[in-house]
Amino acid sequence: MNNKLLVRRNIVGYYMLIPATILFLLINAFPLVYGLILSLTDKNYTKPKSGKFVGLENFKSILHDSEFWSIMGYTIVYTVFVVAFSYLLGLALAVLLNKNIKFRGVFRALALFPWVIPTVVAAQNWRWLFNDQLGFINRTLMELSIIKEPILFLANADLARLSVIIVAIWKSYPFMMVVLLAGLQSIGDEMYEPAYIDGANRTKIFWYITMPTLKPMSIVCTTLMGLWTFNTLSFDNIYLLTQGGPSGSTYVMSIQSYYTAIYRGKIGYASAISVMMMVIIALAVLIYAIAKYTAAIKEQRNAGDVNG
């Protein structure tokens, strides 16, 4: 194919990118650039004269704010816990629901329910279940005499931190399950047969055949869920469950940024907090890339050793 034809073909490719690009420029790119610019200013909606360029001043004060560090710590803990445990729960259900059993379709549909329930509905129902005197969980545990005093799921700072994570896991596992189930279905029986013939037990088969095959899907679903949880899902979930309380114990970075913008009008400072979120994600991606790179080099060296 000559170059001219290639260029002509590429033009079609550019055309096909147009619809997505228009939306990106409008909804993503402009707000992103504007947000980045705002983070370098002292823009404040309550002050008409604000908005001048202050360089990295906002970032300096964020880094000196001890509250920011604890909020950032909790945001990372929250994300890691939600991703790890929703992955484990999703994996367990995927393995169970991949078996050839009766009512498999119904069970699968039921297990996917939390995914399609609007976060608002989920939050309200969990608030209802968590209530100290009227909630189902506490009333049942008290009636069974398992506990004497109600558990203060959302009123105790540490428990509230845990409770919002539990609800997030509950909301997130179906996505993990779907992706892993899809992965499991791509494993044909022929992959298991040699193992069965060798007389390997189920645990061994799971660790040496199933898990390695699921590795690419596992990376995809945990990465995506990590990004979503960190960037957006944590906001809706926590805002609707505790609004960040009690006494700010369930603040995550997105909540802090939102409150700073909405209630204080400090748009510049709020934008800087969100930019910090992007920095953390970029760092995580960088660490991941380095780990992958060193692993690849190691493998290459090992392969070299064997060959040599």
Partner: protein, 322 residues
Amino acid sequence: MDLSSIVAEWEAEGFIKNFPEGSIELHQYNGMQAGIPWIIDPRVITYRKDVFEQAGITKLPTTWDEFLDVCETIKTKTGMTPLVIPGDRDGAQVFLSMMFENGVGVTDSSVNPAFDSSGVGEVLSYVQTLYEKGYISSSTASYTDPDMDSMLLSGNAAMCYGALRTTVYKSGDPIAETLGVMPSISSNTNNSPRTLMWVNPIVAYSQTEHPEEAKVFIKWWIENMLPLFTDGGVNGYPANKGLLEDKFFNEMPYIAEAINNAVPYGTSPVWPSANLYTAWSVIEGENYLGMALQEIVTGNKDHTAIQKKYQGLIEQAFKDAE
């Protein structure tokens, strides 16, 4: 748009005394009358008369000590949670109302932040007593207004402190019919009962083409807007006290009690300062008072540290607002 001419006319006619104390001044901004008091929204202590009767309480409390005694009686005689207060943004308003009961506000009368005053410390101790003795739920920090109603209607609580429970009262639930509004109380040392009362204004935009007509209309409207409540079904109460005397409001005992027992003690949120100051929106928005309340009801006993922390934040809000 400046509406001070309406106020001037009312002053001349003597009509001005129909408005709650401080409510006209509250809506003055930079020497301009930016709004006219329209609808009131008082914080009240709603209580179940049947429970009080059952517990043998004949005299309603007037001071904090008497209130604590009442709580103890209800707790021992009925096993109920005596009082429910919300712990969220609505809780902030209850906390502010309790500050008023003790005669202190967020600022002093010269509009300097005063959250570190000894008066605020006394309020923190009072709330801590309520919390530690189990007079309010140990889960208070997570309660919202609807939780308050659930506790009341499920028979788990005898009193609640917050906005008027009008919807609950009109729900027709048997418990709703036993509700009353307690006369506003004051702390032991402060002999002047007060309760927080919002007064929402009606405003006119300066872009209007007919400013004079607008003013005439607003004046007439505030003086004669009764049908809004009687026929319009609006769940609010007019700031113009004259209208509150209508039998529509007084036919409902719960509402009548609110008008007689709480509204006269209604205090503007920014009291003891007269006007709304810019920092107020930050203090309210960031929920500093609610967060201070949450500290107490999650077991923080270091009052000095709490006062220092939120005094600092409030001072910062004032600085930011300059």
